[in-house]
């Protein structure tokens, strides 16, 4: 019986506090550290000025400023160990990234979009810091994505039994995103070694805090998730250090996440594209400079005798020179070549075919069993492999694909996630960049839309936007397709919608194929979307070898040889096409069937070869008729096989309606069925 009331052992007290200022002499800090901090802050500010100059010179089309955030960043970042702990930064974290190991030259190369830019090789706008050497994850522009990704990294760090910590930063504006919520929740549930840092400067571009939050302090939110929140004056690096040190220690000790809110000022506009005078008065702007964290810290150091005015002036000169050297070196560096636009979409190498061992024992399996066999064997073989998703644990997934994995491999490698698809994908991304081989499950392709940004904007672009610095070996599995009375939200074919360079999309058609393709997908260095047709799960059994065999991705399969018409299809449609092809035998029409297997990117050679061979092509799919993978196949044939064609390239797909309707007559009407396919093939044969 489910409990309807919960007895509490202690009263619920939101664990939030405002950290009162702490004097540096009451901490473990000393003059040398403070001097070093001052240098970092000066560097940050000077680099920021230089960025603005380069922007006004037309050398840097876009810049984004850290001015006003330097104190918080150095204080918060100081307890982290460079090259040991991890950072999921946001776009203002110039000082934080330098603290973790990046240099002024690295930043100049990025702002000048040079080939040697370690963050992206000139592919991303500046501010998207990244460097695997320093455990700085690559960021994209949609905000809060670093938070779910960071949670994945933190999960991996914890799984590995280290005391490494991940620090995630975000602007308070990003706190409104769903990903922020999903990340807080996931980190809390799994008590991850993570510190969330909100650099609250009061503006999301122009939107003031009062229009973003209905509470007084961002950090008060932490209580709702079940971890502590601390608000601190971000202009005071010492106090920031104190709260960070506490949070990092808590994370290292397995105590779970903390949310730190640093109250900072944004001294300039949001970016070079923004004019803050549209939403801030001159009075406000003037007031900001009086409260400048750098000036305040400088004054404090001189007053407290840490540095003399002369030493400060010398350091300021030294920093200017350092930045000038970096700027010159940056300007002299090579620009990327135009064709570098094509590099690092996919890894250069991918797993090759491995045949089943000679005389391998086989077992009659349906597709569910074959997939389970692949997951089990691969998890046994490679301890980095893990599964995650909704209900994948004890229940074994809604289709029982992961049945038994929890018992065999334990909770850590079989994660029951909250119902939050964006974080399922985002966490998988974090796991993958931190060295795991996650196989994430979306309960249905229909629900994967909740993860659309995570998959197409983050996962797909990760290798490219870091210019090959990061690799994302992960698989997202999802049951797809209709003709199983799943209606609008349990039937969709989403392969075309998700097709994005950087991703591979695989749709197996038989149990044998499913196992070999899934093994290849897991071992692939690039992210693979693996869509399994629900109707095929238990439609039939076939002999599936035990043990390892790999079917390479991006290679189509000729299921049936023929000479008169080629049918290009995948998934369930392969079987419907086979049935239709038999119906045409009596008419003496010889139909060739090509199973695309990997629907993105396409095996162009196989498609072109078959199209040229027969000269008559039917592209068959159950996705919407328009803007489908099939549309792409048809266009490819028109481009590359035109001179061989003996009939217009024919497409046959589902209806152009939003999704598959529920009632059987309407569902039947939507679906390409063997009878309908037969008719289409006969028309094509008669053409």
């Amino acid at each position: 019986m489910a409990q309807t009331t919960k007895t509490r052992e202690e009263a619920f007290t939101p664990d939030w506090r405002f950290q009162e200022p702490v004097a540096w002499r009451d901490t473990d800090l000393d003059e040398n550290v403070l001097t070093e901090w001052f240098h970092y802050m000066l560097l940050g500010r000077q680099i920021d000025y230089r960025f603005q100059v380069l922007n006004r010179q037309g050398r840097a089309p876009f810049i984004i400023s850290c001015a006003g955030h330097e104190a918080a960043q150095i204080g918060i970042g100081w307890p982290l160990k460079p090259k040991y702990d991890w950072l999921a930064p946001y776009y203002r974290d110039v000082v934080l990234c330098m603290r973790m190991g990046m240099t002024p030259l690295d930043l100049m190369l990025s702002v000048l979009a040079k080939a040697a830019d370690p963050a992206s090789g000139g592919k991303q706008t500046p501010g998207h810091f990244s460097d695997s050497r320093h455990n700085i994850t690559s960021g994209g522009s949609p905000v809060a994505t670093q938070m779910v990704r960071g949670a994945g990294v933190a999960y991996a760090l914890k799984m590995d039994g280290t005391d490494k910590v991940l620090l995630t930063c975000y602007g308070e504006g990003a706190g409104a995103e769903g990903d922020a919520h999903e990340a807080f929740n996931f980190a809390a549930v799994y008590k991850l070694p993570e510190v969330f840092v909100c650099e609250n400067n009061g503006f999301a571009i122009s939107t003031p805090f009062s229009k973003e939050y209905a509470i007084e302090h961002v950090a008060q939110r932490a209580a709702g998730y079940g971890f502590p929140g601390v608000t601190v004056d971000g202009r005071d690096p010492v106090t920031c250090y104190v709260v960070s040190k506490e949070a990092v220690a808590r994370a290292r000790a397995g105590g779970g996440p903390t949310l730190i809110e640093c109250l900072v000022d944004r001294l300039g506009a949001h970016s070079s594209e923004d004019d803050q005078r549209r939403y801030r008065t001159q009075e406000e702007i003037d007031l900001l400079s009086q409260n400048d964290c750098l000036e305040r810290f400088k004054k404090q150091l001189i007053e407290e005798g840490v540095l003399t005015a002369k030493q400060v002036a010398e350091d300021e000169e030294a920093v200017k020179e350092e930045v000038t050297r970096a700027t010159k070196a940056g300007m002299e560096a090579d620009d990327p070549r135009p064709e570098d636009a094509l590099t690092n979409v996919y890894a250069v190498e991918a797993p090759e075919a491995i045949d089943p061992p000679a005389g391998a024992e086989t077992e009659e399996m349906n597709m569910v069993a074959a997939l389970r066999s692949a997951l089990t064997e691969e998890m046994e073989r490679d301890e980095r492999v893990m599964v995650m998703g909704e209900d994948v644990g004890k229940k074994g997934g809604v289709f029982l694909v992961t049945d038994g994995l929890r018992a065999k491999f334990g909770e850590a490698r079989v994660i029951d996630t909250p119902l939050a698809e964006s974080s399922i994908a985002g966490v998988a991304l974090g796991l993958a960049i931190a060295g795991k081989r996650p196989v994430a499950e979306m309960q249905f392709t229909d629900f994967a839309h909740m993860a659309f940004n995570s998959i197409t904007n983050e996962i797909a672009k990760y290798r490219y936007r870091s210019d090959g610095d990061w690799s994302v070996p992960l698989v997202v599995r999802a049951p797809m397709g209709g003709h199983a009375h799943g209606a609008l939200y349990h039937s969709q074919s989403i392969e075309a919608r998700f097709a994005t360079p950087g991703l591979k999309i695989v749709i197996p058609s038989t149990p044998y194929e499913a196992k070999g393709l899934l093994l290849a997908a897991i071992r692939d260095p690039d992210p693979v979307l693996f869509f399994e047709h629900k109707r095929l799960y238990r439609m039939f059994k076939e002999a599936v070898p035990k043990g390892e065999y790999l079917i390479p991705l991006r290679v189509a399969r000729t299921v049936r040889e023929g000479s008169d018409i080629s049918v290009f299809c995948y998934g369930l449609m392969v079987h419907y096409a086979l049935e239709a092809a038999k119906n045409l035998e009596a008419d003496g029409v010889s139909v060739e069937i090509v199973d695309l297997r990997t629907v993105y990117p396409l095996d162009k050679d196989a498609i072109i070869a078959s199209a040229r061979k027969t000269g008559k092509c039917l592209v068959l799919y159950e996705d919407n008729f328009s803007v489908s993978v099939g549309s792409e196949v048809a266009a490819l044939i028109a481009d590359e096989a035109w001179r061989w064609l003996d009939a217009p390239v024919k497409r046959f797909g589902g209806l152009d309606v939003p999704s598959m309707p529920y009632a059987v007559p309407m569902e039947e009407y939507f679906m390409p069925t063997p009878d309908k396919i037969t008719k289409v093939l006969k028309e094509l044969a008669a053409y």
Binding site: G615, K616, W642, R643, L645, D646, A685
Partner: protein, 423 residues
């Protein structure tokens, strides 16, 4: 606002026909059409037929223009039939497409219809129809690789389109049996003042059939002279009553047909088809009758002609000729002849070297009946004489058998007396 409408579809003009070319619209949009009254003329394989309106109403739209070749079942016009109901599509597109030519296309078209021929000369621009002379890139590539002259390939695809498979089949057959034909004569460019007459579909089909006949059949020819005294007397005695009873006049043609039928019974190999490796001797005698018209030539068929009397043959011929002139023939009236009788004598000819219809062993031509001095019992007499000319396939018949056939005909005609019954 729009009244109830009916979509007129291309009728299937005969079992073996699956398409037709619209030769003439007899009504234009806005005109009144009356159910069962002719709406348009359609050219099929060999027949030019009038197609009656399926409903009465106002022709609202013509969907298939003159010169277009349209599949049976395809929509060709919209007729507004009045009433307020919304427009109803009669056959849906799917339903129409659901009756593809299937298997019959290959066999029957190849035999009966030499298909919309491809132009053998370059300018394909202002030719009638569209599909007939446009080749898919795949067909052009296959033709180039296999060195196939596309103008000689019979199309089995949609609208008689030449398919890649047709080209491959053609090349395979050509390889198996290299054609004996000489290359076609070089095209002649029209000189100044010459009139260029575009060939009608029927004209082109006749041309193809005749060329095929002469290219594939080794023709041989014989003639015998027949004393027609008995036939002339018999007809003269019977024709008045016949005209009154039947409503049309009795000609000499049914007599000659009866003679041919009798001769075919005695010489069955003349009623046969030469089939490369075998001879198919037909049981039925289906007699093709040449009916010459102003601009064309039709050969309608009298089926199982051996069961008919002279009057019966006369009726059958009259029926076919009337319908031919009224463009009411169905394609099935034009196919399946096993032997042909030609009556060019009505135009005054004395000797005709007729061309055999492919698939038959011979063609018998009756020439003009002429009063001629002949030797009768050692004296000069005047008699109505007629030459019977016989073109025959030398692969089927030798001179001896041909002569026997002709002799049978002659003897039957010369044996006619006043007592010979015509009913």
């Amino acid at each position: 606002m729009a009244g109830k409408t009916t979509r007129v579809v291309m009728p299937q003009l005969g079992e073996s026909v699956h398409e037709g070319t619209i030769s003439k619209w007899l009504v234009k949009p806005g005109d009144k059409v009356v159910e069962f009254e002719p709406m348009l003329e359609v050219d099929t394989d060999k027949v030019n037929a009038e197609v009656p309106a399926p409903v009465s109403g106002i022709l609202r739209e013509i969907l298939a223009k003159e010169g277009e070749t349209v599949q049976a079942g395809a929509e060709i016009a919209v007729v507004e039939t009045g009433g307020g109901a919304s427009e109803k599509l009669l056959p849906t597109r799917g339903e129409v497409a659901a009756k593809p030519p299937e298997g019959l296309a290959k066999t029957e078209i190849a035999k009966v219809e030499p298909a919309p021929p491809a132009p053998s000369e370059p300018p394909p621009r202002e030719r009638e129809g569209v599909e007939s002379h446009r080749y898919s890139p795949g067909v052009q590539m296959a033709a180039s690789e296999l060195k196939v002259d596309l103008s000689r390939v019979t199309g089995t695809g949609l609208g008689g389109r030449v398919t890649k498979k047709d080209v491959q089949d053609f090349a395979a057959k050509a390889k198996a049996a290299p054609p004996a034909s000489a290359p076609a004569a070089a095209p002649v460019a029209p000189a100044e003042g010459d009139q260029v007459v575009q060939l009608t579909r029927v004209r082109r089909l006749i041309a193809e059939n005749m060329t095929r006949s002469k290219q594939t059949i080794p023709h041989a020819w014989q003639t015998q002279e027949v004393d027609m005294s008995g036939v002339v007397a018999n007809r003269a005695a019977a024709k008045g009553a016949f005209q009154r009873q039947e409503g049309f006049s009795l000609t000499y043609l049914p007599y000659v047909m009866a003679a041919a039928i009798s001769a075919l019974r005695e010489n069955p190999h003349a009623n046969a088809t030469f089939n490369e490796t075998e001879l198919i001797v037909h049981r039925d005698i289906n007699l093709g009758i040449s009916v010459g018209m102003e601009d064309t030539l039709l050969v309608p068929v009298v089926r199982r002609a051996d069961g008919l009397s002279i009057a019966g043959l006369a009726r059958a011929v009259n029926d076919l000729a009337t319908r031919a002139r009224g463009k009411q023939l169905k394609a099935d009236d034009l196919s399946g002849a096993t032997f042909t009788v030609n009556n060019s004598g009505t135009f005054g000819t004395l000797f005709s070297y007729s061309v055999i219809n492919p698939g038959q062993a011979g063609i018998l031509t009756m020439e003009a009946i002429v009063q001629r001095p002949v030797a009768v019992d050692g004296m000069i007499g005047i008699k109505p004489m007629m030459y019977l000319c016989f073109s025959f396939d030398h692969r089927v018949l030798d001179g001896l058998q041909a002569a026997r056939f002709l002799t049978s005909c002659r003897k039957w005609l010369e044996a006619v007396t006043l007592e010979t019954p015509i009913y």
